[in-house]
Amino acid sequence: MAESLGVDDPGLWGLFILAVLATFVWRLGGVVLAGRVRQEGPLFGWIAAVAYAMVAALMTRVILMPRGDLAWETLWPRGLALVVGFAVWGLAGRRLIWGLAAGVGVFAALVALGY
């Protein structure tokens, strides 16, 4: 438990506002850019592919190595649950709910077993 950061600390609020802006700039840039990129054009297709790849990269990392944890003991149960989830998803005709239930189910079972 860290010591209290101080609710009234103006420095922390300043940092907070900058952190909010650090996210806002991307949204602002996206809105500006969206008006200039032709939806059928190759640039839009590339931006979409980058977005898909970024989301997949982030989510896979968060599933396998949450908060940057690289230890094998926490990695393999997560990896197993991920593989089972996708295998069931594929076998069930890409029905999301089956893949999700299988993946979360396997992970819950492993956690319950103490892994």
């Binding site: 860290a2 209290s4 950061l5 609710v7 609020w13 907070f16 900058l18 952190a19 909010v20 650090a22 996210t23 700039v25 991307w26 949204r27 602002l28 840039g29 996206g30 809105v31 850019l33 969206a34 990129v37 939806q39 190759p42 839009f44 297709g45 590339w46 931006i47 979409a48 592919a49 980058v50 977005a51 898909y52 790849a53 970024m54 989301v55 997949a56 990269a57 982030l58 989510m59 896979t60 990392r61 968060v62 599933i63 190595m65 908060r67 940057g68 997560r78 991920l82 989830g85 996708f86 998803w89 999301l96 709910i97 893949g99 999700l100 979360v104 992970f107 819950a108 956690v111 319950a112």
Partner: protein
């Protein structure tokens, strides 16, 4: 006559918004609620005030950036490091806004500030869900559908933060671990179902590069995996003109 017209438009608007809201009840809102519950518990543990925990969720609205901010600010990291980490963690908002805006507007004209306001609520869950759901939908239904969806999602996220801040540490750690596992898996399954082959390939390459590079270059892996994976996917599919080039399906 024109009054009739307006009533019809209002009814379709309301129906689409309700449909979006209903779509969000269940896995999406539950998942975000629990993820944000985890964030609320973390913020409380790190010593943030309740107001700041809530405002971080409400105004940043992107979990990786929120966690980067909370962890680094609490650790007393230098200002530049905190800002760069948050900006980095939430950089994916840029391509998601560019493509997401086109998806939800469906040809509607909305002013600049209105578009900016709408995109304040765009984040990974809404983006993937809109990509999955809107192609089967009339263009006019997309904006109200999005608004209904994100309204429920936002309430779940901010509510989850409040609950996590107050009682999060009461929840047993294994239960929280399982709950927090659900959202990224749900979103990964959603993007894996991308319609366009280019984007399917981008998902596979992004997952492989993102996982492989993370132990080597840390959080920059998301950025590199996105740019490299997305570019390779586009280049590889362009060699096969039968696919018809890029797209956002």
């Amino acid at each position: 006559m024109s009054q009739d017209h307006q009533t019809v438009a209002e009814t379709t608007w309301r129906r689409a918004a309700l449909r979006g809201a209903r779509r969000c009840v269940g896995v999406p809102s539950f998942g975000i609620g629990l993820s944000m519950l985890g964030f609320g518990a973390l913020a409380s543990d790190l010593g943030f005030s309740g107001l700041q925990a809530l405002l971080t969720t409400a105004l940043v609205w992107g979990l990786p950036g929120q966690i980067a901010y909370a962890e680094l600010a609490a650790a007393g990291a230098p200002l530049g490091v905190v800002i760069a980490a948050v900006a980095f963690a939430n950089m994916r908002m840029l391509p998601m806004t560019v493509t997401g805006l086109a998806t939800i507007l469906g040809g509607r004209q909305v002013g600049f500030l209105g578009r900016l306001f709408l995109m304040q609520f765009m984040a990974v869950t809404a983006w993937t869900q809109m990509n999955a759901d809107t192609p089967a939908m009339g263009p006019r239904d997309r904006l109200p559908y999005y608004i209904g969806f994100v309204a429920v999602l936002y309430v779940a996220g901010v509510g989850g933060t409040a609950i996590g801040y107050t009682v999060g540490s009461v929840l047993p750690e294994p239960a929280l671990r399982v709950a927090v596992f659900m959202t990224p898996l749900y979103l990964l399954l959603l993007v894996a179902a991308a319609r366009h082959p280019t984007n399917q390939m981008a998902v596979v390459l992004g997952a492989v590069f993102g996982t492989g590079l993370f132990p080597l270059i840390g959080d920059a892996a998301v950025l590199v995996a996105g740019l490299v994976g997305g570019s390779i996917a586009v280049a590889a599919r362009r060699r096969r003109p039968s696919d018809g080039g890029g797209g956002n399906g």
